[in-house]
Symmetry: C2
Subunit: 419 residues, 2 copies
Amino acid sequence: MKPLNVAVLGIGNVGTGLIETYRLNKVKVDGQTNQPFNFKYILVNSIDKLRTIDLKDSILTTDFQDIIKDDSIDVVIELIGGLHPAFDYMKRALEAGKHVITANKAAIATYGPELRQIASDNKVLLRYEASVCGGIPLLNTLSENLLSNDFEELVGILNGTTNYILTRMTEEGLEFDEALKLAQEAGFAEADPSSDIEGDDAAYKLCILSHIAFGLNVDPKDIPKHGITKVSKEDIEYAQELGYKIKLLAAAHKKENTVDLRVNPALIKDTHPLASVNHEFNALFLKGNALGELMLYGKGAGAMPTGSSVLSDLIAISKKTPSMIEQKTTIALENRSLLKYYIRLEVIDEPGVLGKVATLLGEHGISLDSVVQRARGNKVAPLVFLTHEIDKKTLDGAIKSVEAYDKIVEIASLMSVEN
Amino acid sequence: MKPLNVAVLGIGNVGTGLIETYRLNKVKVDGQTNQPFNFKYILVNSIDKLRTIDLKDSILTTDFQDIIKDDSIDVVIELIGGLHPAFDYMKRALEAGKHVITANKAAIATYGPELRQIASDNKVLLRYEASVCGGIPLLNTLSENLLSNDFEELVGILNGTTNYILTRMTEEGLEFDEALKLAQEAGFAEADPSSDIEGDDAAYKLCILSHIAFGLNVDPKDIPKHGITKVSKEDIEYAQELGYKIKLLAAAHKKENTVDLRVNPALIKDTHPLASVNHEFNALFLKGNALGELMLYGKGAGAMPTGSSVLSDLIAISKKTPSMIEQKTTIALENRSLLKYYIRLEVIDEPGVLGKVATLLGEHGISLDSVVQRARGNKVAPLVFLTHEIDKKTLDGAIKSVEAYDKIVEIASLMSVEN
């Protein structure tokens, strides 16, 4: 049978993983598609660069025009990353009637609605499984296998770098800076780790997941977002004492016709399946209105895992499986009003301070789930509270009056608690 | 658009869950398929039985002939369970050119090859997502979303009843009989629990998974199988001391062109993701040659979860998604030769017994990973070993010479240890 002609834009880790995965599993894959894949072009920055992978079956080019002008190209796979020129290349490929696959979370989170519209106008497919959590088939599972469900809740550990850092902080009692250094040495954090540790990477992924699950088109900038740079060893220890782990969670909670999206470090019960997702692993926990609880767990990054997800999309295109679903949605973004909170105060260690603070919180209608007071044997001591569900305005008012109390040195930490 | 006409055979828990899930999510589902589902017939034992679900839109019949003779029926959903007449009805429906969906693991494990052939000969689809682990989309994920991978290992907790029993034994220090009684009271074990506790249910599911993952057609009777009735509170405690949990594992290990299938209680490291799958939950952990480790976790049973899986198959048929894959396989069933073992002996509590047993094991070439000796303060004491990898013949020889030693009261327990 005629091969499917493919052009790959960019041949870094993921591109190499894609081609190596196909070579490794060619017999199985071709047996399923009845149509071998021909990686006809590869767009590179430099033709002569030394590469670990043998590309002699492909035409290397530095000019995107060569690809767009070749009518025999059926599929363009964008693996350049970043917004530009990645978006522009995808747009032109779709307009030229070519199917597009990408692993680019920033571009899909930012320009997804526009790209999906162009794909639909040109009757071609746009697939992006690898853009969210590398090797875990999250998007295809949500959009194809779980269509019989309405989703009530998605809670994910979607960023491997931050999960690796928090795991080492937890297991070895390290501070954030020490664990970040170890993550960089182990190759799990980049030299400039800001997109991971500030939560941007997780927010992009949550944005894409919310489109697949709820049909929502959200600007990733509108997702409330806190990174993990302020999480301290001390908070991790108090959380453990209370039976919780601290994880960077990217969560969507649906309530009637609104959904709350947020990315932040949060406390999650030890017994929750997400609490045992450690190191560089990723997981998505969800609740469907029929199937109940489900979790998918695996490697969120890496050349071969991510390459194999790109290859899965190529197989789907070869089998003419339609694009990711376009749901008509009536759902709007709205922040959850009621949350549970973890509050750590540093206070002057004197009799009566705990009672006074608890009274102040009570006067604002805040009832407490747990309290930990631990003497340090010096003048300043920590005071830790877990609240029941309260709205943010009530919390802010209470915090203000607690801050005004002269025995309070600092509001050292404030995080949400997930059930 | 013309509706898809469906006949449902049997309206117990799963049938009720199917229809309720469709009613609950009709707007979303119809929006995706553009073809509403019409549950035209329901095959029942008694027309007049009082039911919790309103079925006035369907024709209730006690005669399968009514369904098979009606050319307007596109899909037959078999939810009777058991081998006969379920198999015969599915065969006749496929031969009459109707697509078939089933949740029947016994029938698919036993007659899968024959039913798949009849479906293929008649150019109709046969789907059975709900036959393995209720609400978790295992089969569709393996066969559709992970096609880019070759599978090296599948290890599953596929039976909710036994996992519930083992969890309560572990958490509360109960013996098997006590925990079984609690499981029956909680509705997680049937009055006759033998198919669950003897491992038959898990073996059926493993048989179906091996077909999907490896293209293997195995008679479920050929899968080596041990139930959990002999697992004692004591073994669970020793396992915990050594850093392991005891779980009923259904596992497939591939090595070149052979695969080892087995169902048995086994020790699994505390840090393994499967170790924290508790109570009635199910999970499948797998290794793909490109994606690495992946785990799917969720509810393996229940009316709505299982019904929603049946509904997913119905959606796939409406969208003309092909049957589960038919892989050409060159893989044969062959038992793994090397395993690690957990051995618990009851011995006369005298000096030198440990040394003598360790020497006997050493003489048979068995090297030890861990040893636990604990005095009970009476004449008989337990002696626990974890071995390194050995073949079964070596183990059997060693056990025979240990048994012959006159200080040995009993070989109380022997289980494999999974990495």
